[in-house]
Structure formats: structure tokens, C-alpha cells
Amino acid sequence: MRRILGRSLLVLAVATSAAAADKTISMPPDDPYAALKPGPGVEVTQRQCTPCHSTDYIVMQPAGGPKQWEGVVTKMIKVFGAPVNDEDAKVIVDYLAKHYGN
């Protein structure tokens, strides 16, 4: 009986290790090349945008005025469902237009 149990455990252990052998990866942290420029509103922008994406999504975009950035922030809220209130949205638009504007 003990021998049978031992063999079952061995089979179970082999099966488990086979499953664990499937693919697992870990990702590096957000790259510092995309760090946001310092200035009023940077903390709010960082806090509200980075739960869903790294800041390179911001810094790589063509420079644009308040109209462009208002469009982007509105899209993030209305289309992508970002939970950002009106007050924070305005802070973010002002920050982006000032530091990533033309």
C-alpha cells in the first residue's frame, strides 16, 4: 500500500513539474527614458495615467496644444474608461499642453 501511494505521489509530482515547466516571463520596469518633465501637474498626470500605461505613450506623441491634449485625455476617459474626474483632467491637459505642446 505504501509503495502504491509512493508511486502515485511520484506520478503527481512529475505531472505538477510538467505543468510548471510551461512558459513564465517577468517584465522589466518602465524605462526611465520616458520620465515625465517636472512641473505643476506632473504628479497628477503620473498617478492618473500610469495605472494603464507607461509614460512613453505620452512623451512619444507629436507636440500639440491644449486642443490635442484635451482630445487625448477625453478619449482616455470616454473611450478607454479611465476613472479620472474633471478637475484632474484639466490639470493633466494643462500640464501636457505646457510641457508637450508646440
Binding site: A20, K23, M27, P32, Y33, V79, G81, P83
Partner: protein, 405 residues
């Protein structure tokens, strides 16, 4: 090194120093000094799991670009193949004991297929095909457009092995009245308010095309995680947006699927060129579909110094949306005259076609070499790029610039 390039190099070294001084993480990360490209020059080279050094577009969700030097050959190595995700978080772990491809909706026999089922219950099919992001080269658009500012490396070519999608749907038994199938993968957004990445294809398109696969093998190996392990959809000739990674759910439906990533996402102007006057909006749109014809000079890299009077072999690739490349032409006189390149092996109509061309530069100074391709139905590239507001379908005569000395 020219003054301009030296200045750029110093600038990069300075910014690298700033990062190090600021306590930035370096790890397997190096600045992309060799790029010599205003769009890519500022971006670092990074190393992600199962990948070699690729150009970073975004960290999270990850978007990584293949350096141009890998396009001197028809097959793109798995470790150099570009990466593009839409939503965060992305799958970091797959357990084949529990992973299943589910097929449901308007079918007679809903299926739950393991990877072994895919490999053993369906005939094994092979296709060599280009996977290119809809927005490849978006960063080159003028006027510029919002979106991922890719250079030209959001493309790759691989030999894919898998089960035919039509065989899988036939096994499930598509019911009368079915119009489309939708495709969903393991990547799920952090918030339920964020649209999940789901794509659709017409049932007629699937049943007419034996080259649409659920692929579990890429260049003779399992797919890298970041390219869709354990299985992804392969839609040869069409843009990568349809090639759903980590495929987990297929649903057959009786209507046209119009959730975010099909509408308003990934749409092109509803006209023959898929283009509009720069800066304007299209009146009507359709889902993006077949790829335009393109060709690139991979080596020597643009910006390289080459010797006058000495024969030089240029290498690159050309491809199109599935008719097959017939000719590749090069010009050193701004397009006044063109000469034919020698084409490499034909790996099928969906594949990159390798080309080589020997050129002996004569005049010292700046020299521009232009490249264009023609496919089997005469599609090519124009002198001026076509424009659309989403930055899709890039299609223009490409070039590389050399310093002859």
C-alpha cells in the same frame, strides 16, 4: 564620423550620463546610438524575455521594434521579432494543462481544444507570412498623427505552423446564418471599462482561405511569450491587428462585430487608396485589411560611410498583401532611372522577398539610394506617401542615405 553624427553621439552619451547620475536603471539597456535616425535615435535598445536587443517604443504594455539590420534576410529571427500589445496587464504565464482554445457561439459542437488537440486532431499546415503592424512607420507621417510613433521595424516574417482555422470551424460545425467569428486572447485590461482586445473576420473569408491558421510554431520553435504563446491567429496578407495573440476564444456570431478594436479602432478611409488629403478626416471608413506593397534597404545601414569606386552589395526585403513580389528596383539618380535587383528564394506570396543589388558608388559626397517593389498585380509605391489620420497603410518609395568617400 561626421560632425552631425558626432554631435548626436555626444548628446546621447550626455543623456545616458544623466540617467546613470539620476539613479536610472540600466540593466540590459543601451542607447540606440547606431540608429542615426531622428525618430529612433532617442530611444533605448532594451532586452525583454526571449528577445534580443530591440528598440523600445513603450514599456507597458510593451511595444518593441526590430532594428532595420534584421531585414537583410527573408526570415526574421524569433528573438528579433517585434512586439505590440494593446492593453495592460499582459499574460506573463501560460499553463498548458489548463490553457484551452474555446470555440462557441453559432456552432453545432462547441469545442475546448488543448494544444495537443490542435497538434494532433487537425492536419498540420505551414505558411511563411509577413506580420506587420497597421501603424508601422506611423512616426514618418507628415503632418504627424497621434498613436504609436513606430519607425519601420513593426514588421517581421516567419514560417508559421498550425491548424487551419477553417478546419477548426468545420469541426465545430458553423450554423446557418453565421456571419463572422470573433477572436479573443488571454490579454485582459486592468479595468472592466477598458475595451478588451477582440477582433473579427467574415466566415466566408475564413472558409475561402486555407492559409489562415491557428499557429503554435514560429520558425520551428514554440512562439515566444511576447509573440502570442502558445497559439496565435495567422491572417496572411492582412495587417497584424487580426493576428490575435494568446488566442483563447473564438465565437461564431450572426452579425457584424463592432466593438472598439473593430470600430472605431483600426479603420481606414473607405476608398481605393485608403487615403485622404493630409489633415482632413474621411467621410466613411472600413476595417483595415490587406497590406500595401513595401520595400526596404537594410544593409548597409542608412547613414553608413561607403567607399567610392568599390562595388558594394545592398540587401533588403520587399513584400505586399499576398500577390507576391515580382520585381525590386533601385535608383541612385532620384528616380530618373531604375535598375533591377536580384531576388532571393521565393518563400511564397505572403513572405518577405529577399533582394540584393550591387552598386559601385562613383561621386564622393552624399548619395541617396531609392527602392521600390512591384507585386504580381502591378501594385507599387509612389514618390509621395499617402496620408490618413490614423497613420496606417504606409506606402511610399523608401531610401537610404550614404556618405561616399
Amino acid at each position: 564620423m561626421s560632425n552631425l553624427r558626432r554631435r548626436d553621439a555626444i548628446k546621447h552619451l550626455v543623456s545616458l550620463g544623466t540617467l546613470l547620475g539620476g539613479g536610472g536603471l540600466l540593466g540590459a539597456r543601451t542607447p540606440a546610438l547606431a540608429q542615426g535616425d531622428p525618430l529612433l535615435g532617442a530611444r533605448p535598445l532594451v532586452r525583454y524575455p526571449e528577445k534580443t536587443d530591440l528598440i523600445l517604443l513603450t514599456s507597458r504594455p510593451p511595444q518593441l521594434e526590430t532594428p532595420m539590420k534584421y531585414f537583410d534576410r527573408a526570415i526574421t529571427p524569433n528573438e528579433a521579432f517585434f512586439v505590440r500589445y494593446h492593453v495592460f496587464p499582459i499574460p506573463l504565464e501560460v499553463d498548458l494543462a489548463t490553457w484551452r482554445l474555446r470555440v462557441g457561439g453559432r456552432v453545432d459542437r462547441p469545442l475546448e481544444l488543448s494544444l495537443d488537440d490542435l497538434k494532433t486532431k487537425f492536419p498540420r499546415a505551414t505558411v511563411t507570412a509577413v506580420n506587420q503592424c497597421s501603424g508601422n512607420s506611423r512616426g514618418r507621417f507628415a503632418p504627424r498623427v497621434l498613436g504609436g510613433q513606430w519607425g519601420d521595424g513593426a514588421m517581421g516574417n516567419a514560417e508559421w505552423v498550425g491548424a487551419r482555422l477553417k478546419d477548426i470551424l468545420t469541426a465545430a460545425g458553423v450554423r446557418q446564418g453565421a456571419l463572422q467569428a470573433t477572436f479573443d486572447g488571454l490579454d485582459k485590461p486592468a479595468f472592466p471599462s477598458v475595451p478588451d482586445f477582440v477582433k473579427s473576420l467574415d466566415i466566408t473569408r475564413i472558409m475561402d482561405d486555407p492559409d489562415i491558421l491557428v499557429a503554435y510554431q514560429m520558425n520551428g520553435a514554440p512562439l515566444p511569450m511576447l509573440n502570442g504563446y502558445p497559439a496565435r491567429l495567422i491572417v496572411p496578407g492582412w495587417y497584424a491587428t487580426y493576428w490575435v495573440k494568446h488566442l483563447s476564444d473564438i465565437e461564431v456570431i450572426d452579425h457584424v462585430f463592432e466593438k472598439f478594436w473593430m470600430k472605431p479602432g483600426y479603420r481606414i478611409p473607405a476608398n481605393a487608396c485608403g487615403c485622404v488629403a493630409p489633415g482632413t478626416a474621411p467621410a466613411q471608413t472600413v476595417p483595415i485589411n490587406r497590406m500595401t506593397a513595401r520595400s526596404f534597404i537594410a544593409t548597409p545601414s542608412s547613414g553608413a560611410r561607403v567607399a567610392a569606386g568599390r562595388p558594394l552589395t545592398l540587401k533588403g526585403i520587399a513584400f505586399d498583401g499576398g500577390y507576391g513580389v515580382r520585381e525590386v528596383h533601385l535608383s541612385t539618380d532620384d528616380g530618373a532611372t531604375w535598375q533591377r535587383a536580384t531576388l532571393g528564394a521565393d518563400l511564397g506570396r505572403y513572405s518577405f522577398r529577399e533582394w540584393t543589388w550591387t552598386w559601385t558608388p562613383r561621386q564622393p559626397g552624399a548619395a541617396r539610394v531609392m527602392v521600390r517593389a512591384f507585386n504580381a498585380i502591378g501594385e507599387s509605391q509612389g514618390r509621395e506617401p499617402l496620408w490618413n489620420p490614423a497613420g496606417y497603410l504606409r506606402n511610399v518609395i523608401e531610401h537610404a542615405d550614404f556618405q561616399v568617400s
